[in-house]
């Protein structure tokens, strides 16, 4: 199986402080890889180098064999990457359906028109996506009034509108209730496996990580200190010492 996302020798320093050092991993189609580690371990920095928000000092990020290192978030989306944000980012004054339609219009290259009416096209497609994430019944509400968990679902639908090969999810369940958390990741996992999407996510909730991830990579102080199947990672004494503690 070839990797959808391949990361090699990634480095990033901020003002002399090395935030990410020599990080490497790969994610295959239909696989869920969790990136975990203490706060400040470099997860977010790492993530932002994959999605185009930050440019790495050195190292290579490849999407299906194509070098995407240092590309803009915009260009990376166009190559088939969908994202959800740690703090949800949706268009608050637009309705749920319009949010998804924005993503669909963008995917179809239909945003440039100045005089046609927005929202008439791609409506069924938007509703189908909303149905998949269980948000169809709220399609006409503005995103600004939605509950947090529902916003996360809208973000997932927007990411899927791009028919992505890779899905990047930064703390997808932060701020949600325990049961909602597992439900959301189960949903993402189901869709990803069915559509052969590779998923990379960071997460602090160990219940979510150990129940949904196929593999786990652990970062500490910018370096990969462990990686492998959930059971292996859980048993790793280094991981217990820096991250999991005695509770797990």
């Amino acid at each position: 199986m070839t990797a959808v996302l391949q990361v090699d020798g990634l480095h990033k320093a901020f003002g002399g402080v090395r935030a990410v050092e020599d990080v490497a991993f790969a994610v295959s189609a239909g696989e869920l890889l969790a990136l975990i580690g203490p706060n400040g371990a470099g997860k977010s920095t790492c993530f932002n180098m994959l999605n185009g928000q930050l440019e790495p000092d050195s190292g290579v990020v490849e999407l299906e064999g194509r070098d995407i290192t240092g590309m803009s978030p915009r260009a990376i989306w166009r190559l088939g990457v969908g994202r959800t944000f740690q703090i949800t980012a949706t268009f608050a004054s637009l309705s749920v359906r319009e949010n998804v339609q924005m993503a669909l219009y963008s995917h179809a290259g239909k945003l440039r028109s100045l005089l046609s009416r927005f929202g008439t096209a791609l409506r069924t497609e938007a509703d189908a996506l909303l149905d998949q994430v269980g948000m169809l019944d709220q399609a006409d509400r503005p995103c600004g009034v939605l509950a947090y968990g529902d916003l996360k679902r809208v973000e997932l639908a927007m990411a899927l509108a791009n028919q992505p090969r890779l899905l990047l999810m930064d703390e997808p369940t932060a701020g949600m209730a325990p049961r909602e958390r597992v439900a959301l990741m189960e949903l993402a996992a189901r869709l990803a496996r069915a559509q052969k999407i590779a998923v990379l996510f960071t997460e602090h909730d160990m219940d979510v990580v150990f129940s949904q991830a196929d593999r786990i990579v652990v970062l500490d102080r910018g370096r990969v200190i462990a990686g492998g199947l959930p059971a292996e990672v859980r048993a790793n004494p280094d991981v217990q010492a820096v991250y999991l503690g005695s509770g797990h």
Binding site: N39, G175, H204
Partner: protein
């Protein structure tokens, strides 16, 4: 120490708190549990005056505080530790502590930098480091230390375990128990039941802006249906 009676609060035009009543006695650690969006954080902010209460009464150490601005409430000895840490990233550790400094007060433990560095040895090793260059766990410790510089009698903690690595959460529980030993009262809001079980004496459950349960941690532990219904665990 802290008593809240029939508190109502709005966030913008949304009515978030519908008559919340609760109490924290001197030296007690009390947890306010509830789902995301249940009103926990708004309750803490309304007590602190950060969200003006629309109706109801808050008394602290014998004084009405529900019409006071936050700085007056803080000066009466009620400390506030916000969620998401909110340290001053451009300021050094020492400067962050300086901003929190208030005069010593009667009936509350007095803190200074040296005493705080004994409680949080990590901070003592990075006195001149800007807050923005610290790890999440260190920042969380600094937030608490900064609030303690005000020599509070009672501390409000807004989701202290959110977004922290499991091992830091354990350290956090450790420090909260240390505060209790110093004689401080603590009211914290949380989603993490396991964390609360490790530190709290009593708990309230809040749902849709109303208190649905109040009792000891043992009573809560015994009541599975309650936890199932309101905490989805």
């Amino acid at each position: 120490m802290l008593r809240v009676t029939d508190l109502h609060a709005f966030y913008g035009l949304a009515h978030i708190l519908h008559g919340v009543s609760l109490e924290a006695k001197a030296g007690e650690v009390v947890a306010l549990l509830g789902r995301n969006g249940a009103g926990k954080s708004t309750a803490i902010k309304a007590i602190m005056g950060l969200v003006p209460p629309a109706r109801g009464e808050v008394t602290f150490a014998g004084a009405r505080i529900d019409r006071l601005p936050p700085y007056r409430i803080a000066r009466l000895g009620l400390g506030y530790v916000p969620e998401e840490r909110r340290i001053f990233t451009e300021l050094s550790v020492m400067e962050n502590l300086e901003v929190g400094r208030q005069p010593a007060r009667q009936g509350a433990p007095t803190w200074d930098e040296d005493k705080l560095f004994k409680l949080f040895p990590n901070l003592g090793r990075m006195r001149e480091r800007p807050g923005g260059r610290m790890s999440g766990g260190e920042q969380q410790m600094l937030t608490i230390a900064r609030t303690l510089m005000g020599n509070p009698k009672c501390v409000l903690l807004d989701e202290p375990s959110e977004g922290l690595a499991p091992i830091i959460v354990q350290e956090m529980a450790h420090s909260i128990r240390a505060l209790k030993r110093e004689g401080l009262s603590v009211l914290l809001c949380e989603q993490n039941l396991r964390f609360c079980e490790a530190i709290a004496d009593r708990a309230y459950i809040i749902e849709k802006g109303q208190i649905r349960f109040g009792g000891t941690m043992a009573e809560l532990a015994a009541n599975t249906s309650l936890r199932e219904q309101y905490l989805s665990v």
